[in-house]
């Protein structure tokens, strides 16, 4: 008999309820209720509710320090929650962490690899620890070699790999046992565009061909937009919005006009909000962000209104909304600016 890679699918019927005190139906690949983690009384994750059905790519978007990695570390049993509950692959992360580990694969933010082992030694060890027999292991290694495109490099020490090669090997290590659920914690951070595109293609393939549930944390807006069926936006440990990327962007408006001005943009708000077709406007830093149903029709009126307010307009842009606009509307700051600020600190 030969082996084929097929996921152990978790249907609503197959997933068992590990903890009878858990009062919600266990029909999700990942299900959390008020999940929380405090460090010395400071909340890193503060009551996160997630309901992720099997087979979904869920994008968990937020700036650095928002609580993304802490949430992932709890869901994959590396970190104990201080509050709430979570079922992953049908099992309670606190009551049955061993069963959870059998059903999940994890690629953490920093590729967790042993630089002195070769790539194939590392994958073989992973397979053995997941109880794979020799025949299954040989077949799986061949498949993962194809996936990682590492070729002969698999027989070299991992310490000689480039960052992109390490990422691909780390992903392969997460997949060696063919998990139901794959956690990817910022899988493309630090990768060049070509490597990022390859990782995106692989994530899509795993989801579409194998039906794998994928929990993807990212700080890149376009990554969540491109890959995720649904996106949860987290800030300060709380989910501030959730929906499909389209739904979230539509919540801001069909079009967005952004005016960068010198001085205080708030003085222009009353006149701009009165322009026909403008649904709403907000001032953030040196910017006015104006939501409208028809940007082409409204932009000239906005320009006239700004001129009347005597604010110097540096540029005026019309575009479709992005997830950053959603984040801006919900939190009052740009996600990318937050990341930049934290990167400098």
């Amino acid at each position: 008999m030969s082996a084929v890679i097929a996921p152990v699918r978790g249907s609503a019927q197959e997933i068992t309820r590990a903890d009878p005190r858990f009062s919600v139906p266990a029909s999700y690949a990942i299900h959390t209720e008020r999940l929380a983690r405090h460090f010395s009384g400071v909340p890193a994750v503060d009551g996160v509710d997630l309901r992720i059905p099997p087979g979904e790519i869920y994008g968990f978007l937020g700036p650095n320090g928002a609580g993304k990695s802490t949430t992932v570390r709890m869901l994959c049993t590396l970190l104990s929650p201080t509050g709430g509950r979570a079922l992953v692959a049908g099992h309670d992360i606190a009551a049955a962490p061993g069963r959870v580990r059998l059903g999940i694969g994890v690629a953490l933010q920093d590729a967790a690899l042993d630089p002195k082992q070769t790539g194939s030694e590392l994958l073989r060890l992973q397979g053995r620890l997941y109880g794979l027999g020799n025949r299954a292991l040989v077949r799986r290694l061949a498949e993962l070699a194809e996936l990682t495109e590492l070729g002969d490099a698999l027989d070299r020490p991992i310490g000689t790999y480039s960052g992109g090669m390490k990422r691909r090997l780390d992903l392969a290590a997460a997949l060696v046992h063919n998990p139901q659920i794959l956690f990817l914690d910022e899988p493309t951070t630090g990768l060049d565009p070509a490597s990022r595109a390859r990782v995106w293609a692989e994530i899509r393939r795993l989801n579409q061909q194998l039906g794998m549930t994928i929990f993807l944390t990212t700080q890149y807006l376009e990554e969540a937009d491109e890959l995720a069926h649904r996106v949860g936006i987290i800030d300060h440990g709380r989910i501030v919005a959730e929906g499909t990327p389209g739904e979230l962007k539509r919540s801001v408006g069909t079009d967005v006009i952004v005016a960068r001005v010198d001085g205080d943009p708030a003085v222009a708000l009353p006149l701009v909000q009165a322009v026909p077709g403008v649904r709403g406007a907000e001032a953030h830093g040196g910017e006015l962000v104006i939501a409208t149903g028809d940007g082409a029709a409204a932009i000239s009126g906005v320009a006239v209104a700004l001129a009347k307010c005597a604010v110097a307009v540096r540029d005026l842009t019309l575009r479709t909304p992005t997830l950053d606009d959603v984040f801006l509307e919900l939190t009052g700051s740009h996600i990318e600016r937050k990341n930049g600020k934290e990167d400098l600190s």
Partner: protein, 277 residues
């Protein structure tokens, strides 16, 4: 919520790969196999101790043999081989590699698998015992060349190697405890400091009867004194000397009990700290 259609590949008639707990022995074999594969790639961890042991074996014989040679029936080369063996195997451990696992987050990858947490530690220790046993070979060979003979025969050699390896394991427990507690390679290297009181406040170079004053008293409390007596009984006596062997075993057991308690407490602390960090 928008409904999404998911395409899945159903399990075909071919074998499906499923994760399952591998079992403690499989975990142990996998972890110790990894640790053993790493040994030849890290020769700096094993060559210096053996070199030091061989060097002092030869130098000490050349320096001290004449001073002790006037005792009839006393063979200083055989006497000194036990010290050389302990110099070679004390401090042999993969604890620095475990620190590297903490630093590279590879320990997290291991903790994400269903592996038993104790198997991670015991797997490393199994490798240590194997390495220690192998490292006794060059010292035994040099001893044979210099005229050391085992009146207890091949079984005596086996007992000699076994006691040296178990001592190495007992001492390694301190290194693992420090490694897991601190995750700091410099702190692990400092475990070597423990080596000095153990190996020098005892009858390493002269028979215990020739120690005097406070050193004789301290040596009485040093478990290595009894370990050396047990090892020497296999090469100096006229056969099996069970009392001395039992005392040596007890000395290893006492040190091992303390060090293993410390390192398994440290392991529990590390796993807990990881889950609370």
């Amino acid at each position: 919520m928008t409904a999404v259609t998911y395409t899945t590949v159903p399990p075909a008639s071919r074998e499906v790969i499923r994760a399952r707990p591998a079992g403690f022995l499989h975990d142990l074999a996998a972890i110790s196999g990894r640790a053993l594969r790493a040994v030849p790639r890290d020769p700096a961890a094993v060559i210096p101790p053996v070199f030091i042991a061989l060097f002092f074996f030869v130098v000490n014989i050349a320096t001290l043999k004449k001073l002790t040679g006037n005792h009839p029936g006393f063979n200083y080369t055989s006497f000194e081989m036990a010290t050389a063996i302990l110099l070679g195997v004390t401090g042999i451990s993969r604890a620095p590699a475990l620190v590297l696992d903490v630093q590279t987050h590879y320990l997290d990858r291991l903790l994400l698998t269903p592996v038993r947490r104790t198997a991670i530690l015991i797997g490393h220790m199994t490798a240590d015992v194997t390495v220690s046993a192998v490292l006794t070979a060059p010292i035994l060979i040099l001893g044979a060349i210099l005229g050391v003979r085992f009146p207890t025969g091949p079984l005596g050699i086996a007992a000699f190697v076994l006691m040296a390896s178990l001592w190495s394991l007992a001492f390694a427990g301190f290194s693992y405890a420090i490694a897991l507690k601190t995750g700091n390679p410099a702190a692990v290297n400092s475990a070597f400091l423990l080596f000095f009181p153990f190996l020098f406040l005892t009858s390493s170079y002269v028979p215990r009867g020739q120690l005097s004053g406070w050193l004789s008293t301290v040596a009485g409390f040093n478990p290595v004194t009894y370990l050396l007596q047990g090892l020497r009984s296999l090469v100096l006596g006229n056969g099996w000397q069970w009392l001395q062997l039992a005392q040596a075993a007890a000395a290893i057991a006492v040190v091992g009990l303390i060090s293993m308690t410390l390192c398994f407490v440290a392991l529990r602390g590390r796993v807990k700290r990881n889950s609370q960090a």
